[in-house]
Protein backbone atom coordinates (compact mmCIF):
# COMPACT_ATOMS: atom_id res chain seq x y z
CA UNK A 1 0.00 0.00 0.00
CA UNK A 2 1.47 3.33 -1.08
CA UNK A 3 1.07 6.62 0.55
CA UNK A 4 -1.83 8.62 -0.94
CA UNK A 5 -3.73 5.62 -2.27
CA UNK A 6 -7.46 5.76 -1.93
CA UNK A 7 -8.54 3.89 1.10
CA UNK A 8 -12.22 3.32 1.68
CA UNK A 9 -13.39 4.08 5.15
CA UNK A 10 -14.10 1.11 7.28
CA UNK A 11 -17.80 1.03 8.17
CA UNK A 12 -18.58 1.55 11.78
CA UNK A 13 -20.63 -0.93 13.73
CA UNK A 14 -23.65 1.38 13.61
CA UNK A 15 -23.44 1.69 9.82
CA UNK A 16 -23.19 -2.09 9.47
CA UNK A 17 -26.38 -2.60 11.47
CA UNK A 18 -28.12 0.09 9.41
CA UNK A 19 -27.01 -1.49 6.14
CA UNK A 20 -28.11 -4.98 7.16
CA UNK A 21 -31.53 -3.70 8.18
CA UNK A 22 -31.93 -1.86 4.86
CA UNK A 23 -30.76 -4.97 3.06
CA UNK A 24 -33.29 -7.16 4.80
CA UNK A 25 -36.08 -4.67 4.07
CA UNK A 26 -34.95 -4.52 0.45
CA UNK A 27 -35.16 -8.28 0.15
CA UNK A 28 -38.90 -8.22 0.67
CA UNK A 29 -39.86 -6.29 -2.50
CA UNK A 30 -37.21 -8.20 -4.41
CA UNK A 31 -38.75 -11.55 -3.51
CA UNK A 32 -42.18 -10.15 -4.17
CA UNK A 33 -40.99 -9.01 -7.59
CA UNK A 34 -39.53 -12.42 -8.40
CA UNK A 35 -42.76 -14.12 -7.37
CA UNK A 36 -44.81 -11.62 -9.32
CA UNK A 37 -42.92 -12.21 -12.55
CA UNK A 38 -42.97 -15.95 -12.02
CA UNK A 39 -46.75 -15.98 -11.78
CA UNK A 40 -47.03 -13.45 -14.57
CA UNK A 41 -45.09 -15.69 -16.92
CA UNK A 42 -46.86 -18.83 -15.86
CA UNK A 43 -50.21 -17.13 -16.37
CA UNK A 44 -49.12 -15.78 -19.75
CA UNK A 45 -47.91 -19.13 -20.97
CA UNK A 46 -51.08 -20.75 -19.68
CA UNK A 47 -48.94 -23.38 -18.10
CA UNK A 48 -47.94 -22.86 -14.47
CA UNK A 49 -44.33 -23.52 -13.51
CA UNK A 50 -43.66 -26.73 -11.71
CA UNK A 51 -43.02 -25.18 -8.31
CA UNK A 52 -44.98 -25.63 -5.09
CA UNK A 53 -47.39 -27.91 -6.90
CA UNK A 54 -48.72 -25.08 -9.06
CA UNK A 55 -48.49 -27.23 -12.19
CA UNK A 56 -51.15 -29.49 -10.77
CA UNK A 57 -54.77 -29.03 -11.58
CA UNK A 58 -57.10 -27.40 -9.08
CA UNK A 59 -58.48 -29.31 -6.12
CA UNK A 60 -62.02 -30.32 -6.92
CA UNK A 61 -64.86 -30.60 -4.39
CA UNK A 62 -64.91 -34.33 -5.08
CA UNK A 63 -61.58 -35.94 -5.95
CA UNK A 64 -62.99 -37.57 -9.06
CA UNK A 65 -60.52 -40.22 -10.28
CA UNK A 66 -60.48 -40.18 -14.09
CA UNK A 67 -57.88 -42.95 -13.92
CA UNK A 68 -60.32 -45.37 -12.31
CA UNK A 69 -63.23 -44.59 -14.60
CA UNK A 70 -61.29 -44.40 -17.86
CA UNK A 71 -58.27 -46.66 -17.46
CA UNK A 72 -59.66 -49.36 -15.18
CA UNK A 73 -63.32 -49.40 -16.19
CA UNK A 74 -62.80 -48.29 -19.78
CA UNK A 75 -65.57 -45.72 -20.00
CA UNK A 76 -65.63 -43.52 -23.09
CA UNK A 77 -65.26 -39.75 -22.67
CA UNK A 78 -68.61 -39.38 -24.41
CA UNK A 79 -70.32 -41.61 -21.86
CA UNK A 80 -70.31 -38.76 -19.36
CA UNK A 81 -69.51 -35.71 -21.52
CA UNK A 82 -72.52 -36.46 -23.65
CA UNK A 83 -73.07 -33.17 -25.41
CA UNK A 84 -69.64 -33.08 -27.03
CA UNK A 85 -70.91 -34.24 -30.43
CA UNK A 86 -74.09 -32.21 -30.23
CA UNK A 87 -73.24 -28.74 -29.09
CA UNK A 88 -70.74 -26.05 -28.30
CA UNK A 89 -69.99 -27.24 -24.77
CA UNK A 90 -68.90 -30.77 -23.91
CA UNK A 91 -70.87 -30.43 -20.68
CA UNK A 92 -70.18 -31.97 -17.30
CA UNK A 93 -72.67 -34.71 -16.42
CA UNK A 94 -75.45 -33.99 -13.94
CA UNK A 95 -75.24 -35.64 -10.53
CA UNK A 96 -78.05 -37.94 -11.55
CA UNK A 97 -75.86 -39.56 -14.19
CA UNK A 98 -73.19 -40.32 -11.57
CA UNK A 99 -75.88 -41.80 -9.37
CA UNK A 100 -77.08 -44.30 -11.99
CA UNK A 101 -73.99 -46.31 -11.09
CA UNK A 102 -73.16 -45.00 -7.64
CA UNK A 103 -76.50 -45.99 -6.14
CA UNK A 104 -75.05 -49.46 -6.01
CA UNK A 105 -71.33 -49.04 -6.70
CA UNK A 106 -68.64 -47.73 -4.37
CA UNK A 107 -70.60 -47.83 -1.14
CA UNK A 108 -68.49 -46.57 1.75
CA UNK A 109 -65.81 -44.81 -0.28
CA UNK A 110 -65.32 -41.31 1.20
CA UNK A 111 -65.62 -39.49 -2.14
CA UNK A 112 -68.72 -41.45 -3.13
CA UNK A 113 -70.28 -40.55 0.20
CA UNK A 114 -69.66 -36.88 -0.60
CA UNK A 115 -71.43 -37.47 -3.91
CA UNK A 116 -74.35 -39.12 -2.11
CA UNK A 117 -74.64 -36.13 0.20
CA UNK A 118 -74.65 -33.68 -2.70
CA UNK A 119 -77.22 -35.78 -4.54
CA UNK A 120 -79.47 -35.85 -1.47
CA UNK A 121 -79.19 -32.08 -1.05
CA UNK A 122 -80.40 -31.66 -4.64
CA UNK A 123 -77.65 -29.23 -5.59
CA UNK A 124 -75.13 -29.53 -8.41
CA UNK A 125 -71.45 -30.16 -7.72
CA UNK A 126 -69.36 -26.99 -7.74
CA UNK A 127 -66.60 -28.26 -9.98
CA UNK A 128 -63.65 -25.94 -10.45
CA UNK A 129 -63.32 -25.07 -14.10
CA UNK A 130 -59.98 -26.14 -15.62
CA UNK A 131 -60.24 -25.12 -19.28
CA UNK A 132 -61.52 -21.69 -20.14
CA UNK A 133 -61.05 -19.55 -23.21
CA UNK A 134 -61.81 -15.83 -22.99
CA UNK A 135 -65.31 -14.50 -23.54
CA UNK A 136 -64.46 -13.18 -27.00
CA UNK A 137 -63.47 -16.65 -28.23
CA UNK A 138 -66.21 -19.02 -29.33
CA UNK A 139 -65.01 -22.60 -29.35
CA UNK A 140 -67.42 -25.25 -30.54
CA UNK A 141 -66.74 -28.83 -29.46
CA UNK A 142 -69.14 -30.38 -31.96
CA UNK A 143 -67.40 -28.96 -35.04
CA UNK A 144 -63.94 -30.06 -33.91
CA UNK A 145 -64.88 -33.52 -32.68
CA UNK A 146 -66.92 -34.36 -35.77
CA UNK A 147 -64.25 -33.07 -38.16
CA UNK A 148 -61.44 -35.14 -36.66
CA UNK A 149 -63.47 -38.27 -36.05
CA UNK A 150 -64.81 -38.26 -39.62
CA UNK A 151 -61.48 -37.44 -41.26
CA UNK A 152 -59.46 -40.01 -39.36
CA UNK A 153 -62.35 -42.50 -39.00
CA UNK A 154 -61.98 -42.75 -35.22
CA UNK A 155 -64.43 -42.64 -32.36
CA UNK A 156 -65.31 -39.16 -31.02
CA UNK A 157 -63.77 -39.98 -27.65
CA UNK A 158 -60.39 -40.56 -29.27
CA UNK A 159 -60.26 -36.97 -30.51
CA UNK A 160 -60.44 -35.36 -27.05
CA UNK A 161 -56.78 -36.04 -26.24
CA UNK A 162 -55.66 -33.76 -29.09
CA UNK A 163 -56.34 -30.73 -26.94
CA UNK A 164 -57.01 -32.09 -23.45
CA UNK A 165 -54.11 -34.52 -23.18
CA UNK A 166 -54.48 -37.93 -21.61
CA UNK A 167 -57.17 -37.01 -19.10
CA UNK A 168 -57.74 -40.70 -18.42
CA UNK A 169 -54.29 -40.87 -16.86
CA UNK A 170 -54.64 -37.75 -14.73
CA UNK A 171 -55.41 -37.95 -11.04
CA UNK A 172 -56.07 -34.21 -10.95
CA UNK A 173 -57.21 -32.85 -14.28
CA UNK A 174 -54.99 -30.07 -15.55
CA UNK A 175 -54.65 -28.13 -18.75
CA UNK A 176 -52.38 -29.98 -21.15
CA UNK A 177 -52.04 -27.46 -23.98
CA UNK A 178 -51.52 -23.70 -23.94
CA UNK A 179 -54.79 -23.06 -25.78
CA UNK A 180 -53.63 -19.58 -26.69
CA UNK A 181 -54.59 -18.10 -30.04
CA UNK A 182 -51.33 -19.18 -31.69
CA UNK A 183 -52.12 -22.75 -30.69
CA UNK A 184 -55.58 -22.53 -32.25
CA UNK A 185 -54.42 -20.77 -35.41
CA UNK A 186 -51.56 -23.20 -36.06
CA UNK A 187 -53.94 -26.14 -35.84
CA UNK A 188 -56.50 -24.40 -38.05
CA UNK A 189 -53.83 -23.70 -40.67
CA UNK A 190 -52.50 -27.27 -40.60
CA UNK A 191 -55.96 -28.78 -41.05
CA UNK A 192 -57.30 -26.38 -43.66
CA UNK A 193 -59.82 -24.76 -41.33
CA UNK A 194 -60.72 -21.11 -41.90
CA UNK A 195 -58.43 -18.57 -40.25
CA UNK A 196 -60.86 -15.71 -40.72
CA UNK A 197 -61.08 -13.75 -37.45
CA UNK A 198 -64.84 -14.06 -37.42
CA UNK A 199 -64.58 -17.86 -37.29
CA UNK A 200 -63.99 -17.62 -33.53
CA UNK A 201 -64.29 -13.95 -32.58
CA UNK A 202 -67.79 -12.53 -32.70
Amino acid sequence: MLQGDFQPKKPTRKQLIKLSIFGLIGLVPLTALVFFFMFLFSAWLGKPMAVFGYDEGPTQPIAFPHTRHVQELGLDCTFCHRNVTKGAAATIPPVGLCMTCHKVVGEGLPEVEKLQAIYDSGKPIDWVRVHRVPDHVHFNHQAHILFFSQRDAIAPSQVCATCHGDVGGMVKVKQARYLKMADCVNCHRDNGAPTDCVTCHY
Binding site: P134, D135, Q142, A143, P194, C197, V198, T199, H201, Y202
Partner: protein, 253 residues
Protein backbone atom coordinates in the same frame (compact mmCIF):
# COMPACT_ATOMS: atom_id res chain seq x y z
CA UNK B 1 -67.34 -33.34 -51.94
CA UNK B 2 -70.21 -31.36 -50.54
CA UNK B 3 -68.14 -29.90 -47.75
CA UNK B 4 -65.41 -28.47 -49.94
CA UNK B 5 -68.01 -27.11 -52.34
CA UNK B 6 -69.66 -25.34 -49.45
CA UNK B 7 -66.38 -23.97 -48.21
CA UNK B 8 -65.51 -22.52 -51.59
CA UNK B 9 -68.99 -21.25 -52.37
CA UNK B 10 -68.90 -17.50 -52.77
CA UNK B 11 -71.24 -15.61 -50.54
CA UNK B 12 -72.25 -12.02 -50.18
CA UNK B 13 -74.63 -11.41 -47.34
CA UNK B 14 -76.96 -8.53 -47.94
CA UNK B 15 -80.23 -7.01 -46.93
CA UNK B 16 -83.13 -5.33 -48.66
CA UNK B 17 -85.22 -2.86 -46.69
CA UNK B 18 -88.61 -2.01 -48.16
CA UNK B 19 -89.51 1.39 -46.73
CA UNK B 20 -93.01 1.02 -48.13
CA UNK B 21 -93.69 -1.58 -45.47
CA UNK B 22 -91.91 -0.06 -42.47
CA UNK B 23 -94.29 1.09 -39.78
CA UNK B 24 -91.60 2.27 -37.37
CA UNK B 25 -92.60 -0.12 -34.60
CA UNK B 26 -89.00 -0.55 -33.31
CA UNK B 27 -89.40 -4.32 -32.96
CA UNK B 28 -86.13 -4.76 -34.88
CA UNK B 29 -84.37 -2.46 -32.44
CA UNK B 30 -85.57 -4.43 -29.43
CA UNK B 31 -84.76 -7.77 -31.07
CA UNK B 32 -81.26 -6.57 -31.89
CA UNK B 33 -80.66 -5.30 -28.37
CA UNK B 34 -81.60 -8.61 -26.83
CA UNK B 35 -79.88 -10.83 -29.38
CA UNK B 36 -76.57 -9.00 -29.28
CA UNK B 37 -76.18 -8.25 -25.57
CA UNK B 38 -76.39 -4.52 -26.08
CA UNK B 39 -76.51 -2.68 -22.75
CA UNK B 40 -79.68 -0.87 -21.84
CA UNK B 41 -79.66 2.72 -23.07
CA UNK B 42 -80.88 5.30 -20.62
CA UNK B 43 -82.12 8.78 -21.33
CA UNK B 44 -78.80 10.30 -20.34
CA UNK B 45 -77.02 8.14 -22.91
CA UNK B 46 -79.26 9.47 -25.66
CA UNK B 47 -78.76 13.04 -24.50
CA UNK B 48 -75.01 12.54 -24.76
CA UNK B 49 -75.40 10.91 -28.20
CA UNK B 50 -73.71 7.85 -26.76
CA UNK B 51 -76.56 5.35 -26.94
CA UNK B 52 -75.76 2.03 -28.60
CA UNK B 53 -78.27 0.86 -31.19
CA UNK B 54 -76.92 -1.40 -33.90
CA UNK B 55 -80.12 -0.79 -35.80
CA UNK B 56 -82.10 2.35 -35.24
CA UNK B 57 -85.16 3.86 -36.85
CA UNK B 58 -84.70 7.35 -38.20
CA UNK B 59 -87.94 9.31 -38.19
CA UNK B 60 -88.78 12.23 -40.42
CA UNK B 61 -91.87 14.38 -40.61
CA UNK B 62 -93.17 15.28 -44.02
CA UNK B 63 -95.65 17.97 -44.94
CA UNK B 64 -97.39 20.75 -43.05
CA UNK B 65 -100.05 20.30 -40.42
CA UNK B 66 -102.73 18.89 -40.74
CA UNK B 67 -101.29 16.79 -43.57
CA UNK B 68 -98.28 15.52 -41.66
CA UNK B 69 -96.79 12.17 -42.50
CA UNK B 70 -94.21 10.22 -40.56
CA UNK B 71 -91.45 8.58 -42.53
CA UNK B 72 -89.27 5.82 -41.07
CA UNK B 73 -85.88 4.55 -42.21
CA UNK B 74 -84.29 1.64 -40.35
CA UNK B 75 -80.53 2.23 -40.45
CA UNK B 76 -77.99 -0.43 -39.64
CA UNK B 77 -74.40 -1.10 -40.66
CA UNK B 78 -74.46 -1.09 -44.46
CA UNK B 79 -71.57 -3.61 -44.68
CA UNK B 80 -70.05 -1.51 -47.44
CA UNK B 81 -67.85 -3.21 -50.00
CA UNK B 82 -65.73 -0.09 -49.97
CA UNK B 83 -66.04 0.69 -46.30
CA UNK B 84 -64.68 4.00 -45.05
CA UNK B 85 -64.20 2.54 -41.56
CA UNK B 86 -61.75 -0.16 -42.60
CA UNK B 87 -58.65 1.69 -43.89
CA UNK B 88 -58.55 4.05 -40.90
CA UNK B 89 -58.19 1.34 -38.27
CA UNK B 90 -54.58 1.28 -37.08
CA UNK B 91 -54.81 -2.25 -35.66
CA UNK B 92 -56.85 -4.04 -38.36
CA UNK B 93 -59.68 -4.56 -35.91
CA UNK B 94 -62.19 -4.02 -38.67
CA UNK B 95 -61.85 -5.74 -41.99
CA UNK B 96 -63.86 -7.29 -44.78
CA UNK B 97 -64.26 -11.02 -44.70
CA UNK B 98 -64.77 -13.39 -47.60
CA UNK B 99 -68.54 -13.40 -47.16
CA UNK B 100 -68.93 -9.68 -47.66
CA UNK B 101 -69.31 -8.88 -43.98
CA UNK B 102 -67.67 -5.91 -42.44
CA UNK B 103 -66.31 -7.51 -39.30
CA UNK B 104 -65.35 -5.91 -36.02
CA UNK B 105 -62.81 -7.92 -34.03
CA UNK B 106 -63.38 -6.92 -30.43
CA UNK B 107 -60.15 -8.31 -29.03
CA UNK B 108 -58.07 -6.37 -31.54
CA UNK B 109 -59.85 -3.07 -31.05
CA UNK B 110 -57.96 -0.48 -29.03
CA UNK B 111 -60.69 2.14 -29.13
CA UNK B 112 -59.26 4.90 -31.28
CA UNK B 113 -62.76 5.64 -32.62
CA UNK B 114 -61.36 6.57 -36.04
CA UNK B 115 -63.78 4.14 -37.69
CA UNK B 116 -66.84 5.70 -36.08
CA UNK B 117 -65.70 9.15 -37.07
CA UNK B 118 -65.16 8.02 -40.64
CA UNK B 119 -68.50 6.22 -40.97
CA UNK B 120 -71.03 8.36 -42.87
CA UNK B 121 -73.97 6.28 -41.62
CA UNK B 122 -73.16 6.73 -37.89
CA UNK B 123 -73.73 3.05 -37.19
CA UNK B 124 -70.57 2.35 -35.21
CA UNK B 125 -70.84 2.70 -31.47
CA UNK B 126 -68.22 3.17 -28.83
CA UNK B 127 -68.57 1.65 -25.38
CA UNK B 128 -68.13 4.66 -23.17
CA UNK B 129 -69.05 2.63 -20.07
CA UNK B 130 -68.81 -0.91 -18.85
CA UNK B 131 -71.97 -2.60 -20.08
CA UNK B 132 -74.67 -2.53 -17.44
CA UNK B 133 -77.78 -4.64 -17.38
CA UNK B 134 -80.65 -4.56 -14.90
CA UNK B 135 -80.81 -7.65 -12.72
CA UNK B 136 -83.86 -8.92 -14.54
CA UNK B 137 -81.92 -9.04 -17.81
CA UNK B 138 -78.72 -10.65 -16.58
CA UNK B 139 -79.90 -14.18 -17.27
CA UNK B 140 -81.03 -13.41 -20.79
CA UNK B 141 -77.57 -12.55 -22.16
CA UNK B 142 -76.79 -14.44 -25.34
CA UNK B 143 -73.87 -16.80 -24.71
CA UNK B 144 -72.99 -16.79 -28.42
CA UNK B 145 -72.19 -13.09 -28.40
CA UNK B 146 -69.31 -11.42 -26.62
CA UNK B 147 -70.22 -8.85 -24.00
CA UNK B 148 -68.19 -5.88 -25.16
CA UNK B 149 -66.26 -4.19 -22.42
CA UNK B 150 -65.59 -0.50 -22.02
CA UNK B 151 -63.34 1.20 -24.56
CA UNK B 152 -64.04 -0.78 -27.70
CA UNK B 153 -66.10 -0.22 -30.80
CA UNK B 154 -69.06 -2.31 -31.79
CA UNK B 155 -71.51 -2.48 -34.65
CA UNK B 156 -74.03 -4.62 -36.48
CA UNK B 157 -72.58 -7.99 -37.44
CA UNK B 158 -75.55 -9.23 -39.49
CA UNK B 159 -75.86 -11.65 -36.54
CA UNK B 160 -72.74 -13.54 -37.60
CA UNK B 161 -73.21 -15.94 -34.68
CA UNK B 162 -76.42 -17.16 -36.30
CA UNK B 163 -74.77 -17.43 -39.72
CA UNK B 164 -71.92 -19.52 -38.33
CA UNK B 165 -74.32 -21.73 -36.38
CA UNK B 166 -76.37 -22.41 -39.51
CA UNK B 167 -73.24 -23.02 -41.55
CA UNK B 168 -72.02 -25.56 -38.99
CA UNK B 169 -75.40 -27.26 -38.98
CA UNK B 170 -75.54 -27.35 -42.77
CA UNK B 171 -72.06 -28.87 -42.89
CA UNK B 172 -73.01 -31.60 -40.43
CA UNK B 173 -76.24 -32.41 -42.23
CA UNK B 174 -74.71 -32.08 -45.69
CA UNK B 175 -77.49 -29.76 -46.81
CA UNK B 176 -77.11 -26.33 -48.39
CA UNK B 177 -78.00 -23.22 -46.40
CA UNK B 178 -81.62 -22.41 -47.19
CA UNK B 179 -82.53 -18.89 -48.22
CA UNK B 180 -84.80 -17.18 -45.72
CA UNK B 181 -84.05 -19.71 -43.01
CA UNK B 182 -85.25 -18.21 -39.74
CA UNK B 183 -82.20 -19.58 -37.97
CA UNK B 184 -80.01 -17.75 -40.47
CA UNK B 185 -81.86 -14.43 -40.52
CA UNK B 186 -80.60 -11.74 -38.17
CA UNK B 187 -82.76 -11.03 -35.15
CA UNK B 188 -84.13 -7.81 -36.64
CA UNK B 189 -85.37 -9.62 -39.76
CA UNK B 190 -87.10 -12.28 -37.71
CA UNK B 191 -88.75 -9.69 -35.50
CA UNK B 192 -90.10 -7.50 -38.29
CA UNK B 193 -93.91 -7.88 -38.34
CA UNK B 194 -94.36 -6.38 -41.82
CA UNK B 195 -91.57 -8.22 -43.66
CA UNK B 196 -89.77 -4.94 -44.28
CA UNK B 197 -86.32 -6.45 -43.84
CA UNK B 198 -85.16 -9.26 -46.10
CA UNK B 199 -81.82 -10.94 -45.53
CA UNK B 200 -79.95 -13.34 -47.78
CA UNK B 201 -77.09 -14.15 -50.08
CA UNK B 202 -76.64 -11.62 -52.88
CA UNK B 203 -74.38 -14.05 -54.80
CA UNK B 204 -77.11 -16.67 -55.00
CA UNK B 205 -79.28 -15.70 -58.02
CA UNK B 206 -82.33 -17.49 -56.60
CA UNK B 207 -82.37 -15.82 -53.21
CA UNK B 208 -85.06 -13.31 -52.38
CA UNK B 209 -82.62 -10.46 -51.87
CA UNK B 210 -80.89 -10.89 -55.21
CA UNK B 211 -84.22 -11.14 -57.00
CA UNK B 212 -85.35 -7.93 -55.31
CA UNK B 213 -82.03 -6.30 -56.17
CA UNK B 214 -82.28 -7.31 -59.83
CA UNK B 215 -85.85 -6.12 -60.06
CA UNK B 216 -85.63 -2.90 -58.12
CA UNK B 217 -82.02 -1.76 -58.39
CA UNK B 218 -80.47 -3.23 -61.53
CA UNK B 219 -83.50 -2.97 -63.81
CA UNK B 220 -84.45 0.32 -62.26
CA UNK B 221 -87.22 0.49 -59.75
CA UNK B 222 -87.52 1.73 -56.22
CA UNK B 223 -84.08 0.57 -55.14
CA UNK B 224 -81.34 2.88 -53.90
CA UNK B 225 -78.42 2.91 -51.50
CA UNK B 226 -78.02 5.29 -48.62
CA UNK B 227 -75.48 8.00 -49.50
CA UNK B 228 -74.91 6.42 -52.89
CA UNK B 229 -72.78 9.35 -54.05
CA UNK B 230 -70.11 8.52 -51.47
CA UNK B 231 -69.15 5.40 -53.38
CA UNK B 232 -69.17 3.08 -50.39
CA UNK B 233 -71.15 0.42 -52.35
CA UNK B 234 -73.22 -0.85 -49.42
CA UNK B 235 -74.74 -4.31 -49.20
CA UNK B 236 -77.99 -2.93 -47.80
CA UNK B 237 -80.49 -1.88 -50.44
CA UNK B 238 -83.40 0.42 -49.65
CA UNK B 239 -86.64 0.44 -51.59
CA UNK B 240 -88.37 3.81 -51.85
CA UNK B 241 -91.71 4.41 -50.24
CA UNK B 242 -94.59 4.61 -52.65
CA UNK B 243 -97.06 7.38 -51.87
CA UNK B 244 -99.87 8.02 -54.29
CA UNK B 245 -100.81 11.18 -52.47
CA UNK B 246 -97.34 12.58 -52.70
CA UNK B 247 -97.32 16.09 -54.03
CA UNK B 248 -94.56 16.91 -56.40
CA UNK B 249 -92.33 19.46 -54.81
CA UNK B 250 -92.51 22.82 -56.50
CA UNK B 251 -89.34 23.70 -58.31
CA UNK B 252 -87.28 26.15 -56.33
CA UNK B 253 -86.91 29.47 -57.95
Amino acid sequence: MAESAQATQKRQWGMVIDLDKCIGCQACVVACQSENNIPVNEEAHFNQRRAIQWIHIQRYWEGEWPHVKARFIPVLCQHCDNAPCEPVCPVYATYHNTEGLNVQVYNRCVGTRFCANNCPYVVRFFNFWEPAYPNSLKNQLNPDVTVRSRGIMEKCTFCVQRISRVRRQAKNDGTPIADGDRALNPACVNACPTDTLVFGDLEDPNSRVSKLRDKELVEGGRGYHLYEHLGTSPNVIYLKKVDKHAVEEPAHA
